[in-house]
Symmetry: C2
Subunit: 198 residues, 2 copies
DNA sequence: CTTGGTTTTGAACGATTGTTCAGTTAAATC
DNA sequence: GATTTAACTGAACAATCGTTCAAAACCAAG
């Protein structure tokens, strides 16, 4: 048993995934070749297959890891009463997505490039995330802090609105991330809270 | 000069564009081959080049036509005071996008597959559409009917929220398009109007 | 230094890509 | 019916695709 310490395996593996994440986000799954990924890593195309079974699995793993991480993180970000948890959700979503724009882009854009069974799995995770917000809205209606005609629809509206931040926000612009979080929380609060626009 | 009336040119041409629209939306620009498009039309791949110079131009034309049509249509959909025009915008955006899901999908997802100069042109049209809403918001602030901290940000938020409808709404579901328009207008009104949540 | 096993190379596989074009088909005009 | 021209076929082009694999390179343990 040799070559376990100085092994490149635990270095190259993550680099393959990082390169794929970057290139898939930039150009799209179908438009990126295995040779491009290999080139980004500094290796020949054949070497990639020491770390992944095939291209499709590479895409699926990237998306699954992102969604699982998202679901894990959101649970820990919420606390207190429904109105407070709604604010937590808004601020969390914006910050989490801002930190990993490539993974977000892929998770939303490459669904159609997944094989059916892989698609079903990712779709299930996405629904799980939507349900987290939906549950907050229902709880807020129940305790009177929120006024929401249709929690399912409102959850979709809020998530779409928040995810849209990634398409235009840059930390180098005139607004800080905190500014954006404040603005969006203000808009969501006015949109859904029982307290009116105060 | 023969073969000008019974010509297939004015039949096949639109069918090529329709097939490309459908397939690009379904599988993505890079994942669709010219032979697939030709197959959908019922013709050999070579015949496509009687109607388009190349694949890239086909994508660009589809996106440009969609954006120009969008900009033309939105102007005619707005009337009256800012608050009324905001409602018009919300209802228009939902209905217009619902009527052409494939074109919407392509216009939002295939930007990265455009050559730089093509990208700049489409991006300009998109900015034009955003400006239409932004102007409404500014006018609403000016006449006191709206309370908007940052019109640019609010415009992006509203458009993202409205466009998100296309990802989940189906006319066969429990809600009619009119239901959805009402719900979203209600949410946007509460979010931005000066009147509070009444 | 030799051995043993991990990692990578580099070439090759058949399939498919966008695009071109000479030749065939078909329809309208004379 | 002959002519003309638009529409299309079908084969071909070089390039690239994802993937495989024997051989070479490499490094740690004995």
């Amino acid at each position: 048993m040799a070559r376990t310490q100085g092994s490149h395996s635990d270095i190259t593996g993550p680099r393959v995934r990082a390169a794929a994440l970057k290139l898939f986000a930039r150009h799209g799954y179908a438009a990126v070749s295995m040779r491009q990924i290999a080139g980004e890593v500094g290796v020949q195309a054949g070497a990639l297959y020491n770390y992944i079974p095939d291209k499709q699995s590479l895409l699926f793993d990237l998306m699954q890891d992102h969604m699982v991480e998202l679901l894990d993180a959101v649970e820990g970000a919420l606390s207190g009463a429904p109105l407070q948890r709604l604010e937590d959700f808004v601020r969390f979503h914006i910050a989490f997505h801002h930190d990993r724009p490539d993974a977000v882009f892929i998770a939303y854009m490459e669904l159609r490039n997944l094989e059916p069974s892989n698609f079903a799995q990712i779709e299930g995770l996405r629904r799980g995330y939507e349900t987290v917000l939906e549950d907050i809205l229902r709880a807020g209606v129940a305790d009177g802090s929120l006024v929401v005609a249709d929690p399912k629809v409102a959850a979709m509206a809020v998530i779409a609105m928040l995810t849209g931040v990634n398409t235009w926000f840059s930390a180098e612009g005139r607004l800080s991330l905190r500014d954006v979080q404040d603005m969006y929380w203000n808009m969501v609060r006015r949109m859904l809270s029982a307290g009116g626009s105060v």
